[in-house]
């Protein structure tokens, strides 16, 4: 089975975000970058499926600048076989990114294409599903549990107030949610092996954008409120404030 995972390099979730001089991008100075946490579930799923099958090939693909090579090497160190960097400055436009990914994925004739359900930087929350539409493939988004038997996929996706059970057949696109698995850490042996694995760099042009960023701003800081009191005796005063001052009861 041929499995592809699409990966994005993002700032670590613990990073403090500072807006850059352009006001349309963040200041990357001093920010630690990591593989998108949701993409790690996709990487783990791909590696585990190949291990179970005993055969097959796993490929990781990123759209980004040369800085993404390090992120791709992390995926190779986890156990992915080969990497492709679609070299570009990237785009805020989800469809523009989906188009270059779809072109690369189509040429690879993959049985299963995995994404994280969203990237924790721009929260665009669309590229994986768009790629499925562009390739005319079935898609299950935000899978928190997945089983593959033969060519049939069954996956659970969390919806408001319940769990939706979805099914489709390979070839397919699945975007991965937390809960799917526990991503492995790269081993020392894996890190050494990753240095020798193939990483192809292919320049691409992203165009046809219909979404543009006009500005970024930091949200207003919340003012610290007040300590109503200590212990259970403060409860009546709290409820009075919620009712009469905040008017939320």
């Amino acid at each position: 089975m041929k499995i592809a995972v699409c990966l994005k390099r993002v700032p670590d979730t613990t990073a403090k975000i500072v807006i850059g001089a352009s006001r349309t991008a963040i200041d990357e100075a001093g920010v630690k970058f990591v593989p998108n946490p949701y993409d790690e579930f996709a990487l783990e799923a791909a590696i585990a499926l190949k291990e179970q099958a005993g055969t097959g090939e796993t490929t990781v693909i990123a759209v980004g600048t040369d800085a993404s090579q390090e992120t791709l090497r992390t995926a190779l160190a986890m156990g992915i076989d080969r990497a492709v960097l679609l070299q570009s400055a990237g785009s805020a436009d989800g469809l523009a990114v989906a188009r270059v990914l779809a072109a690369e994925l189509k040429a690879g004739a993959y049985d299963l294409i995995l994404f994280g359900k969203l990237a924790v930087d721009d929260y665009n929350h669309q590229v994986g599903v768009m790629v499925a539409e562009l390739l005319d493939l079935p898609c299950i988004s935000a899978a928190a549990k997945m089983t593959l038997s033969g060519t049939a996929i069954e996956a659970d996706r969390e919806i408001e107030g319940g769990v939706e059970v979805m099914g489709c057949s390979l070839p397919a696109v699945v975007t991965c949610d937390k809960g799917l698995n526990n991503p492995r850490l790269p081993s020392l042996k894996g890190i050494m092996a990753a240095k020798k694995k193939p990483l192809d760099v292919k320049p691409v042009t992203l165009d046809g954008a219909s979404f543009e960023i006009t500005g970024l701003e930091l949200p207003a800081e919340r003012q610290a409120g007040r300590i109503v009191g200590e212990g259970a005796d403060a409860v009546p005063a709290l409820l009075a404030l919620l009712r009469n001052e905040a008017k939320v009861l």
Partner: protein, 321 residues
């Protein structure tokens, strides 16, 4: 601008978030001098669809298909895309369904989409959006310049106003589609729980609860409020105490309830990012120096095992009075 509002139903009844979607679509139509159509997809009649006029829909388009008893990604996207190009904007809810469906329709129409939008505007023929990114650490302002602007709006952000006006309902033809990914059904938890993104009160617990069984105290308080959901910090989700669906913060959900009560949560940066847009924040924590008190409107310093039962009791009294 003609605006299409994509509603959601479950078990043959419209979900409340649909009213918010219609309200958001109405605001776009009013800013640009246009009209609102609301699309309702179901296996048959959907309870509440005749009241959408009162929430701002000029016309309700009702598409029926046997597959629409459950969510049909391929059927819904084919149906909406078949009429989508007639509209200047299409508004979805940023829910599990909306975030699956909006990109499908966008790709079919050859445009991008903006998800989880908290403010909408019109600039000439473009639609402007504000979206929290980095889980709310940054607000992104952007512009959709395609022929059709596709957005999904964050629940609890656009407030519906009911006028009691009736809306005309007309049949929408459903094109032929291939059901490639299908819903086999929805598993529901034992109790009908509200989702943290949609509840007007969210009560979240962290490590301070000491063990999973103690979340019962939060569930009791949520039951006393009646319109509340239970949330959790990343620490307790990673420890396996609670489901990921309840996690509030950067690798979980971003919530904007009327009232957020953080119990035994210290307030890590990634948690604060997920709840800072709540209208009112209450923190209950033993440590008076916990960072959560820096964002809370009201705090109680104390032992949550004493404070919570009292709070539940007082809320019950208030509710019954």
């Amino acid at each position: 601008m003609k605006v299409l509002a994509v509603t959601e139903q479950r078990d043959g009844a419209l979900r409340k978030v649909s009213h918010e979607v219609v309200a958001a679509a109405r605001s776009l139509a009013d800013q640009s001098g246009g009209s609102v159509d609301a699309v309702v997809l179901g296996a048959g009649a959907v309870a509440g669809m005749d009241q959408l006029g009162g929430f701002g829909a000029d016309q309700v388009l009702h598409g029926t298909h046997a597959d629409f008893a459950l969510y049909s990604p391929d059927g819904a996207s084919a149906t909406i895309a078949s009429i989508g190009a007639e509209y200047g904007a299409i508004v979805f809810a940023s829910t599990a369904m909306g975030r699956d469906l909006a990109p499908r329709v966008a790709a079919r129409l050859g445009v991008s989409c903006a998800n989880d939008v908290t403010a909408l505007g019109v600039d000439g023929s473009a639609v402007t959006v504000t979206r929290p990114i980095y889980a709310g650490k940054v607000l992104q302002h952007g512009k959709l310049t395609g022929k059709t602007a596709i957005v999904s709006v964050r629940p609890n952000t656009f407030h519906p106003v009911a006028s009691g006006k009736a809306g005309s309902v007309s049949a929408l033809s459903v094109p032929a589609f291939t059901a490639r990914a299908v819903s086999k059904g929805v598993k529901k938890p034992d109790a009908a729980l509200l989702d943290v993104t949609e509840a007007s009160v969210v009560i979240s617990g962290g490590r301070g609860l000491k063990e999973p069984a103690n979340f019962k105290l939060l569930e009791d308080l949520a039951a006393a409020f009646g319109n509340a959901a239970v949330g959790a910090s990343r620490a307790v989700v990673d420890a396996g105490w609670r489901d990921h669906g309840e996690q509030v913060g950067q690798t979980g959900k971003t919530v904007s309830p009327q009232l957020y009560i953080a119990v035994g949560i210290s307030g890590a940066i990634q948690h604060l990012a997920g709840m800072r847009t709540a209208r009112t924040i209450v923190a209950i924590n033993r440590d008076k120096d916990a960072p959560i008190f820096k964002v809370a409107d009201y705090g109680i310093v104390g032992d949550l095992f004493e404070v919570l039962p009292r709070l539940t009791e007082e809320v019950k009294k208030l509710r019954s009075s």
